[in-house]
């Protein structure tokens, strides 16, 4: 599972932990080019902040 740089929490600035990847089927409707043809949805990284509990998703890099 390839990943990019560690994500910084946009709420508190702490380094977040990338703990999951998830296929987001609904996100493809708004951004069809982002749909991964192997998964038929947008592959998203899920990050949680150990400092403030914030959760963020961002599109996984191609080939992840």
């Amino acid at each position: 599972m390839a990943t990019t740089t560690r994500m910084r929490c946009p709420k508190c600035g702490a380094e977040m932990n990338h703990h999951a990847n998830k296929v987001d089927y609904s996100a493809g409707a708004a951004d069809p080019p982002a749909v991964d043809p192997d998964f038929h949805g947008v592959l998203q990284e899920v990050h949680q902040c150990p400092n403030c509990g914030n959760i963020e998703m961002r599109r996984a890099p191609e080939g992840a």
């Binding site: 599972m1 990943t3 932990n17 990338h18 703990h19 999951a20 990847n21 998830k22 987001d24 609904s26 998203q44 990284e45 899920v46 949680q48 902040c49 150990p50 509990g53 914030n54 959760i55 963020e56 998703m57």
Partner: protein
Amino acid sequence: MNDSRPLSIPVILGTPRQGRLSEHVARVMVEQLRKRDGVQVRLIDVRALRLPSTDAGEAIKDPDFSETVMHADGLIIVAPEYNHGYPGILKHVLDSNLKEYIHKPVGLCGVSAGGFGGTRAVESLLPVMRELGLVTIFWDVNVSAAGKAFDSNGQLLDAALPRRADKMIDELLWMARVLRYGREHIPAE
């Protein structure tokens, strides 16, 4: 894994129906959770969320509900069984979040007027929980003959229900601690 922070465990009451007996069951779950040290509880009533029916999914997020789920360490869902399924509004509400659920445990509580304790509602919720990224636990709570489990004032008559609820809560809190540690510290690879 020495973490003294409280665990946040919202209880979702999954039906808006008038006269719902699930409300009494949800109250029992909240009361049992409140007896635990280090647990913060909040009842989320799908009736109060008032999500629009002109759209669905994350487009209709309720900010307060999403924030509560984001900071939750686990969930309990109390769902009555209507016509062999769970209430449609519960799905409508659950679908309004996604990232907020991932790698969090969920305990399911089925309620029915008949003798099967909402098992069909619980079973039909399982694949939905899985797709949302929630982690189901192996203890459920099933309330059969809900009309006999409480009196007309909502007072509990089924003395065994709190003990059954406690078994589910024990497992849910263990999973909540483990998964919180994992979400915060264990990378996906």
